[in-house]
Symmetry: C2
Subunit: 331 residues, 2 copies
């Protein structure tokens, strides 16, 4: 068998694939040349996971790689009908982002509970103004999205003494179905979204949803930006329907300097960094190389995306030691 061609949709800094020397022919490409090079590729590594180039180039003529791996958790930017219908296996970077994102969410919950943004603002004014924080222990959270990221968020918040309800597409064992979201959100202190972007989640957090929340509640989105109707969230914050929100993801990224979102009172903006901790690119590169070795040997790949659904179905999660709030295992 000839040395397989691994086409890399590149980004800066590039992946470190030295371990593949002699076992793969690495071809790096930018978005402009992707369509021309796809037919020669056995494998496509989507390193520039913020690009729409795959979705745009895939429907063209010629052969297509049998395996596409994306260095991201979400696959929404890749999926086009032709890729979904093809026999190509699509895998994602499950395992790299869960813990960092859960820590980021826990940090936001604590920062909001202790009113840290106000503390920093008062410091700039040299003002000693004592205020009372809130206790996190005993507060209520609902985590929307029962994939690995939502489960890790659930686990970490539970460890802080938060009463967490996890909501997935359909009810199963300790996971609530989407039909329970309204009543759970209505009594939550923290509403956290870790949903993938699919037709079912597009725009799901809208005026109707924010109208359910308690005025003391906070909304946090670490899933995908387009699941939130941003104008509706802004209006809800301006009406004090909720106490605050944090968005790490947006319908259009990067957020332009002229966006009105930067200035919305009570809204904390971060540049899609919740999952990215020192060494994360190395971990993503290592993960791909490990998976490549399985692929070369004809072994089954982990993290296979259900292309119709748009995510790795949780029943296919191989190793899962998630515990729910009552300590039982989540399926």
């Amino acid at each position: 068998m000839p040395v397989p061609v691994v086409l890399v949709l590149d980004a800066d800094p590039p992946p470190r694939l030295g371990r593949l020397t002699g076992r793969a022919r690495i071809v790096r490409t930018g978005p402009a040349d992707l369509a021309a090079r796809l037919p020669e590729a056995d494998v496509l590594l989507v390193w520039d996971f913020a690009s729409d180039a795959v979705r745009e180039a895939w429907p063209g003529p010629g052969a297509r790689p049998g395996w596409v791996h994306t260095a991201s958790a979400g696959v929404d930017r890749l999926l086009c009908p032709e890729l979904v219908a093809s026999g190509t296996v699509l895998t994602n970077a499950r395992g790299v982002f869960e813990r960092p994102i859960a820590e980021y969410v826990a940090g936001l919950v604590l920062a909001f509970a202790k009113d840290l943004p106000t503390t920093l603002a008062l410091q700039r004014e040299h003002r000693w103004h004592h205020r009372e924080g809130r206790q996190v222990v005993g507060s209520r959270a609902v985590v929307v999205g029962a994939g690995p990221i939502g489960r890790e968020i659930t686990r970490l918040l539970h460890g802080l003494g938060v009463q967490v309800a996890l909501v997935g597409r359909s009810a199963r064992r300790t996971i609530h179905g989407i039909g329970d979201l309204g009543p759970l959100a209505a009594r939550a202190d923290w509403v956290i979204s870790a949903v993938p972007l699919t037709p079912a989640t597009y725009g799901m957090f809208d005026t109707r949803f924010f109208g359910l929340l308690q005025p003391s509640a906070h909304f946090i989105n670490v899933g995908r930006g387009a699941s939130v109707v941003e104008a509706d969230l802004v209006a809800a914050l301006n009406r004090r329907w909720l106490a605050g929100a944090a968005l790490d993801v947006f319908a259009d990224e990067p957020l332009g300097a002229e966006s009105p979102l930067w200035e919305v009172p009570g809204l904390l903006i971060s540049p899609h960094l919740s999952g990215d901790t020192v060494g994360w690119r190395d971990r993503l590169g290592e993960q791909f190389v490990d998976m490549y070795e399985l692929w070369v040997d004809g072994e089954p790949l982990p993290n296979v995306v259900d292309k119709e659904r748009g995510y790795v179905p949780s029943e296919d999660l191989a190793t899962d030691n998630t515990v729910s709030t009552d300590g039982t295992s989540l399926d």
Copy 2:
């Protein structure tokens, strides 16, 4: 027995002591009248715990109450040689502040790890600037002060996957003695002080100490301000001997608007609020009333301060389910 006189060194808002109606004669006083009223008091409730009035009034003439209770964890503002030498029982508010302070510290650790202050600063500039955070899981902390607050901090950080070493006055079971502090601090990512203010802790965090730290380390003080030589911390931050610090307590409180501390890069200033969550004053009042009922019945009081040492000795802590980092119970 006549109705006992409970003298309250008052503050605004006052304690809600309605449950004592008919069982105590409540006399409220400010600092100016404290000396004159002390001789008539059976019990002194130090509600204005930020006042030095007790230490100043106590040495005067006349009888003294047999029991003094302070609505604070620290007792350093109260202690004078005459009170220490007297037969008066001194109790503190152990049990009210531990969990809020531990949550506050966990919030700071996560906020520093995820660089939240920079995120907020960039938002003000409308700048989308992706950065990499640090993982908290697997990082190393040393908590100085093995009282109930230090133990609760240890427990909560351990739950976040931090490797925590707890340092007390003397080594016992899972607690390190003060002699281990240097080597532990030298490899810590997070150094957290929850020490009481005593002659042994006054100024213990100085240039020599900050010189031990890693450049990536953060220092957090939720104990007492005067344990830190503030000028030494400022110099260490300016020299980049450590990455950042957070002070919730200060040698002089409130911090004046003219203090240079507000503007030190990498220093987060908060107004002595780490233990104060919604309802905290009610909890402090309830605690005093519960203790008063024991006192009237001649029962032993909890939270009795060793006046020579300046804190409630940990061996006297009645109920303690603290676990150390290896899961064993702390004594």
